[in-house]
Structure formats: structure tokens, C-alpha cells
Symmetry: C2
Subunit: 196 residues, 2 copies
Amino acid sequence: MSLVLDPTAQDLLFREARTANTFTDEPVTDEQVQAIYDLVKFGPTAFNQSPLRITLVRSPEARERLVQHLAEGNRAKTAAAPLVAILSADNEFHEELPALLPHFPAAKDMFFSERPVREGSAAMNAALQAAYFIIGVRAAGLAAGPMTGADLAGVQKEFLDDDHTPLMIVNIGKPGEDAWFPRSPRLEADQVITTV
Amino acid sequence: MSLVLDPTAQDLLFREARTANTFTDEPVTDEQVQAIYDLVKFGPTAFNQSPLRITLVRSPEARERLVQHLAEGNRAKTAAAPLVAILSADNEFHEELPALLPHFPAAKDMFFSERPVREGSAAMNAALQAAYFIIGVRAAGLAAGPMTGADLAGVQKEFLDDDHTPLMIVNIGKPGEDAWFPRSPRLEADQVITTV
């Protein structure tokens, strides 16, 4: 066994965890979301930046507005999910760097004075944080249903602003009946890993 | 307790895991890397794409070539790490989509016929997979030291090709003496999460 992580945890986070397409009615509480965040906030990023923003779409009115911007095939399940989160990247994350990187506050101005550089860094590091968040949802015993099939520019206009770029929408809840399609294939290690 | 994941696993993957700056001499084997990949390959991506590529820099000659492209502060630790991986995004990932998404092989041509679209999708989804990989390194009881402080264009020219965009370099091994700086602050949940 090359892995130290307990097999039960391996199953919970990766091997048996699946992208759910149906959910039970059981609510997902703010306390659960807080616990998820308080776990995954420790995931590493460049310069300890923290560009990920999480918009919880809870009100029926807001849910309805969101669903309009989704691809047809994503609408019914998103309308019915116990909780839906819009994950976005804050392109002005550098304003927080002096607080997040107290031993190197100059990083803010040395590396991130230009908006295009910030957008690139925010996109990659918020994506890392989005992956940590998905793992965290699973650590809470919940299923995540991440989706990019949406008019993301429309989602941005409807819920965010010019400084926040949406990455994906994530349905969250306990998996319901027929929650997933059969597992699709993955690339084998020798298709992905080379040695020099 | 809002989390189902065992507290020992929480510590291993997030709470006590740290970005290591020193390592012991203990080797990291190909079997360990294979086990890490075979766990994290199940992490979700859009259209089940798999753009992440992992280049293991094992030979002293290749390690020396890589180190030249790193920021000064990243050189000594990378020269000394038991294993170093270059993580990159394969911008031609769509060629594998019919195999990876057998129920929707048309996705390859419907969504990914244009290179700029592929590059954007590869960048985000390879970043998700890079985060899963970092979690997997920790699941193997090893520390990861991800770095973007490098001339990534130089790394691409030296080790990859025009179809592969480097995302980061990751040092991997058992943490050594004085392996980490004090933990830097994180944003609180109420700075990151809003509800609509």
C-alpha cells in the first residue's frame, strides 16, 4: 500500500465519490458550508492568495434567475438541488495579500500591479481552491455536482460584478435516486506520466 | 461535527499538511506516484477531460536544467528534493474525449474545435487536477511543495512543446528539518461566502 490515507477516506473523497445528478430533500446548512470552508481554506495557493469566492444561491427567486443561465440539461437538477453555489475568482485578490502574506507584503505591488496578470493568477488559484472545495463537500458526506455548462457571462452579470469571474456552478446535497451515470473511463498513469 | 471525514484524514490532507521547503533523503518511488495518480484520477472535470500531464524530473542532468529556470529562492530546495514534477496542461486533450466520454463523443467537435477554447478549458481543468494531485501526494504521506516562481516559458521550451502549457512545479518528499514557515493567515468564511 503506497497510500497512507485510510481506504474509507479514499473512497469518500475519490473512489466512490461521484458527480451527482439527483439529490434528496435533506437541506445543506450554513454550518456545513462553514465547516467545509474551514477545512479546505488550508489548501495551498501561490503567494497564499485566496481568490475563490462562494455565492450560495438559497432564495427561490435567486435560484430561478440562476437556472435561466444554465444549459438545458443542467436546469432541472439545479432547480431541485438542496444548495447551489456559484464559485468565482476575485480578480482584486491582491488587496488581501499583505494580510495573507505578512512576511512579504511587497508581493502585492511587485507581482500583481497589472490586471491581466491578476486575472491569470486568480483563475488558476481559484480553480485550485474550487477543487479543494469539491473535496471538502465530499468530506462533509455530501455529493457535489460541478457544472460549467452555462452562460457564465450571464451568470456574472446577474450575480457578480466585473471584478469577479465565475468558474463553475456546484450543486450540493445528499445523492438521490439514480444519482449518477456509469463511471466513465480515466486515462491510465502511463498516458499521463513521463519521466526525464 | 459537520464533517464525515475522519479527523486524522482532515489533518493529513489539510489541517497539518504544509508546503514543505526541505525534505529528507528518502526516495519517492514510481509506485508511490502511480498510487497517487490512481487515486486522484477520479476527481471530477468538465466533460471528464483529463488535460493534466505529469513530467517527473528524475535524472540529475534534467534536474539541473530545470533548476536554471526557477526563481532564485526556489533553486536549492528543488535541487535537493527527492522528486520534482512539472505539471502541465495538454491543449490537445480533446483528442481523448471520445474515449473518456463514450456516451457523448460528439463533445470533441461540438465544443473544442477551436484552440483558444481548448486552452482555456485545459488550463482550468488541469488546475483542478493539479489540486487533486497535491491532495494525493499528501494522501501518500508525503509533502508537496508547489511553485509557480519560475520562467514557465523557459520550462515549456526545455521540457515540453507548444501543445503543453506548464502550470507549476511540485517538489515531493518526506518533510525534512525546519520544513516550513509559520502558517500564514487565511480568509475567514464570512470574507469568502455570500448568500443570495
